[in-house]
């Protein structure tokens, strides 16, 4: 196992009175895919959104505990959240391309982060689209609206957009659950490609998907991590009865 890219230490998340995530401590290894699984409402998205401080946007939400990158806690008030989010990208369940052209969707981030040179930007756009396996479908319509793409294409565009700012970690919240089987398998292939360069944390309800794409799996239940281990172990020989019940479909 490689270096630790990101780790959570005793992370608790509250929405007002509601305690949504309890004392979660997880290490995410560099250039690996970690899957988060568990029944609906158990706090997977909440946990994931805490990792890039997206929950700051929700006024009632409070996050305690530590999130460490390179041994630095980024869950403090003195953290530069904007710089942090450049390092930890995010992809959502529903594709959310900007209401801009395909080109602008990709170029927007890098340009903001200081790349003004047109040729360099063109290059980044092409590379990112290629990495997200959508270059062939878009190269002739780069300056057309991204909203005219299909759902599956939009999702790959969103991944390309995230890749374009060169984050270290990519968080994915059910990135394929709104897509058809073909798009889903494209996204899965893509994830296997991307993990050569990025550390990926993915929430999924699809057990087969978790088994196919991830190295490690964490099983969440009611805001607690019940079990965290190698994906193979979780799916073939889990320690806890409740994990076994969940992956065999006995509840959730």
């Amino acid at each position: 196992m490689g270096e630790i890219a990101l780790s959570a230490k005793k992370l608790n998340v509250y929405y007002g009175e509601k305690h949504a995530v309890h004392d979660v401590s997880l290490d995410f290894a560099e250039k690996e895919v970690t899957a988060l699984i568990g029944p609906s409402g158990c706090g997977k998205s909440t946990f994931l959104r805490s990792l890039n401080r997206m929950n700051d946007l929700i006024p009632s939400c409070k996050v305690t505990g530590e999130i460490l990158i390179d041994d630095r806690n980024i869950n403090g008030t003195d953290t530069d959240v904007v710089a942090l989010r450049k390092k930890i990208g995010m992809v959502w369940q529903r594709p959310n391309p900007f209401h801009k052209s395909i080109y602008e969707n990709i170029a927007f981030g890098p340009r903001y982060h200081g790349i003004k040179n047109k040729k360099q930007l063109d290059e980044i756009v092409e590379q990112s689209l290629r990495k997200a396996a959508i270059w062939e479908e878009t190269k002739d319509r780069l300056h057309k609206s991204a909203l005219a793409l299909s759902g599956g294409q939009q999702q790959r565009l969103c991944i390309a957009r995230t890749v374009a700012v060169k984050p270290d970690v990519i968080l994915m919240d059910e990135p394929a659950s709104a897509l058809d089987p073909i798009s889903t398998s494209k996204i899965e292939e893509l994830i296997s490609e991307l993990k050569q360069d990025y550390s990926i944390v993915i929430v999924t309800h699809n057990m087969h998907q978790a088994a196919r794409v991830s190295e490690k799996t964490a099983f969440f239940l009611n805001g607690h991590v019940v079990e965290y281990d190698k994906t193979e172990t979780i799916f073939t020989n889990p320690t806890h009865q409740r994990t076994n019940d969940y992956i065999t479909g006995r509840f959730g």
């Binding site: 997206m54 942090l84 990208g89 995010m90 209401h99 801009k100 927007f108």
Partner: protein, 295 residues
């Protein structure tokens, strides 16, 4: 009665009401244009009014209306959009925010004659700006600003939160996100708000009587230095607008052709508003398409 019949009846009633409204509007427009169009000529649009003789025009008044529009929008739009952004993106929910919102609501429903009197007491007299275009623009700002604030706020709130999140997640600052992601999407709504505000400026008379004044000095249309007292661009000169002129001609006009002048001026006013409306919409569509790459 079956659901289908009920549906038919409801549709019929709605179509009837809509038709009635459209008819009333067309009738009104038609009547004003029918009465006024005959009187409109190049001479009418460009020459100054006459007090007792026939053949006066509305040149300065038309210019004043347009200039006042620009002046007011230059003050209102940035302030209104700025405050709208603050209310929607920065203000924390709480007592102060809801107090501001209440004040904004009340202000936007103020009777314009009251705003005019307030303008006379405070802007014209206290701050000594006199009867001037600037006083008029400030008075109009008082009741247009709340409209702009509210519309901008609504426009920004209508932008899906996923758009904002997507931008922030790329490590882009909040301000840049507002400017480059949220505002372009909200633009059509903000723009229709601006058009509403502009329409009020064209049509407003009561608030301007005591602020921009009821007279228009001789203007020298060859002198465009805003600092000269008879330059059309001088914002410190009194300026009777088209709407005020219509009111004045109608109520105390001495010229023998006062009725025709009022009718002609009304038609010009309406045509200007329509043209402005169409122009602003075309511009808005162009900008929206440019920002969002949609066709």
């Amino acid at each position: 009665m079956s659901a289908k019949t009920a549906d038919k009846i409801a549709t019929g009633v709605i179509v009837f009401i809509t038709g009635l409204i459209a008819l009333a509007l067309i009738g009104l427009l038609g009547y004003i244009l029918f009465r006024g169009l005959g009187h409109i000529s190049w001479h009418f649009l460009t020459s100054p009014p006459e007090t007792i003789r026939k053949g006066g025009g509305i040149g300065p008044q038309l210019f004043n209306s347009l200039f006042l529009l620009v002046l007011t929008m230059v003050i209102t739009v940035p302030l209104g959009i700025g405050a709208g952004i603050y209310m929607s993106e920065y203000a924390k929910a709480g007592k102060i925010t809801s107090a501001i919102r209440l004040v904004v609501e009340v202000l936007s429903s103020f009777p314009s004659i009251i705003v005019g009197l307030f303008g006379l007491l405070v802007i014209v007299n206290k701050f000594n700006l006199g009867f001037s275009l600037l006083s008029g623009a400030l008075a109009l700002t008082i009741f247009n600003l709340p409209l702009m604030v509210r519309i901008t706020e609504q426009g920004l709130r209508s932008v899906p939160v996923q758009q904002k999140e997507a931008s922030l997640a790329l490590g882009i600052s909040k301000w840049k996100t507002i400017r480059s992601v949220q505002l372009p999407i909200a633009l059509p709504i903000v723009l229709s708000g601006s058009i509403l505000a502009a329409g009020r400026i064209f049509g407003e008379a009561a608030a301007l009587l005591f602020t921009a004044g009821m007279s228009s000095p001789r203007l020298d249309f060859s002198d465009w230095n805003p600092l000269h007292s008879d330059s059309p661009l001088n914002p410190m000169r009194p300026a009777e607008t088209l709407a005020v002129h219509i009111w004045k001609v109608n109520s105390e006009g001495l010229a023998p052709d006062a009725t025709q002048i009022a009718a002609g001026a009304s038609a010009v006013l309406i045509i200007t508003v329509l043209l402005f409306n169409l122009g602003a919409r075309a511009l808005g569509r162009y900008m929206h398409n440019k920002f969002t790459a949609s066709k």
